[in-house]
Structures are given as C-alpha cells and as structure tokens.
C-alpha cells in the first residue's frame, strides 16, 4: 500500500520536471522526485510491529524476528547527500543562466541550433 504512495510521489515529481517551462519549477520537481525515491527505499525494509535495529536487549531471537531492516536506511543516507549536492548545483546554475539570458523560460533559452 505504501509502495503505491511512494511511486505516486515519484510520478508527480517526474511530471514537474518534464512539463513545466520555468527552470526553477523543474528543479523543484527534481527535489520532489528524489524525496519519493527515498520514501520508496525505506518502505521496502518495513516490518509490521517492528523495533529499531539497535541492540538494546539481551534477547537475540526476539530482536532478529522483529527488527526493521537497516540496509535500506544506509542506502537512503547516501541518496539524501547526493541529491542535496545535485539540487544545490542546479540552483546555482539557474542563477547563472538568469544572469546571462535574462529569462527563466526554457523555450527562450535556445542558442544552440540544428
């Protein structure tokens, strides 16, 4: 059930990247899309009635049976860092494009032809 919500968020972000003509709205769509993919990763490791994967009791069997999977959480940490860097770079690039072209519309930024 939660998987469908995560993929719906990715789809909304993809719509924003492809169909909007303002470049800052494209970068915002990219940010929404990366949030959706992080949510999908965490939902994959979910167990109903789960506890956090840090050893806090001495009962190893109960811990192994009901702990949530920690590997997707490590993958999400890496993914968040990468996406923050890409978004920061994209915003600085938008600022430079505005200074050169004086417009934010992607249909008017076309100096390469052919």
């Amino acid at each position: 059930m939660m998987h469908i919500f995560a993929i719906a968020i990715i789809a909304v972000g993809l719509y924003g990247v492809l169909f909007k003509t303002n470049i800052i709205k494209k970068v915002m769509g990219l940010s929404v899309m990366t949030n959706g993919i992080n949510l999908l990763l965490i939902v994959i490791g979910y167990k109903p009635d789960g506890i956090i994967p840090i050893i806090s009791t001495d009962n190893i069997d109960y811990f192994l049976k009901s702990a949530v999977d920690p590997i997707p959480q490590a993958l999400v940490l890496t993914s968040i860092v990468i996406n923050v860097s890409v978004s920061a770079f994209a915003l600085v690039l938008c600022y430079r494009i505005f200074k050169k072209f004086n417009t934010l519309n992607i249909k008017k930024i076309s100096s390469l032809r052919g």
């Binding site: 806090s56 940490l77 968040i80 860092v81 923050v84 915003l91 600085v92 600022y95």
Partner: protein
C-alpha cells in the same frame, strides 16, 4: 521587524538541536550530515535575517580543511585511538560508539562550512 525579534528567540534553539543530533548519531536517527545541515540552517538564518556575517570566508575555508584532514586522519590512524571500548554500562550514553562521535563531529564541521559558503556566494550585494 517582526522577523528579527522572533528569530533572535529560536536561532539558539536550532543550533542546540543540531548539536544534539550530531552527538547522539549512533543512537538516534541523524548523524554527521543531518546535524550539520540543521546547524547550517541556523547560521544561514543569522546571515539572511540579521545581516551579520558570523564567519568570514577565510575562516570557513580553514574550518573545511580542518574537518577534512580530521576525517582522513581518523580513517588511517583511528584504530590506535580506542580507549573508549564498549562496556555494558556505556551502551546508551555518549561514548557508546568507538570513534563514531569524532567522525560525526568532523563531518558536521565540513558540512556546515560547505553549505554556508554556498549560501554566501548565492546572496551577494548584501
């Protein structure tokens, strides 16, 4: 006017919250990168709202170098600095991880200086 008085109230809270998130990174969700991002938000709020440059650009470059070399030092020689081995009474306190505390702190220093440098270069001409 309103933003200056309200921000004076809660910027200190933001920075303390970020420090809490980095130091207990081995017990709660968080760690170096997340706590560093929160502290950078607080420092950026000081710069944008109160118009005070808290750290100079030269200071930020030195902080970044210090944090980076600290992490490199811990990667290669960190195995020698393990006096805080895990005893059962230390398990849920600050010295619970071996040298994760220092890795988190250096990572937060690097992240704060990089993000604040990005914000300084985007907002030019006061």
């Amino acid at each position: 006017m309103l933003e200056k008085t309200t921000s004076k109230l809660f910027i200190l809270f933001i920075i303390i919250f970020g420090l809490n998130m980095t130091i207990f990174g081995h017990l709660t969700p968080g760690g170096g990168f997340q706590g560093g991002a929160i502290i950078a938000t607080g420092v950026a709020a000081i710069f944008i709202v109160l118009r005070v440059k808290f750290w100079n650009e030269k200071t930020l470059n030195l902080m970044k170098a210090f944090g980076g070399f600290g992490i490199a030092f811990l990667i290669f020689f960190g195995y020698m600095f393990r006096p805080f081995y895990i005893e059962s009474q230390n398990l849920h306190k600050i010295w619970g991880g071996d040298y994760l505390l220092f890795l988190n702190i250096f990572c937060a220093i690097v992240v704060v200086s990089s993000l604040v440098l990005i914000i300084y270069s985007m907002v030019e001409n006061e």
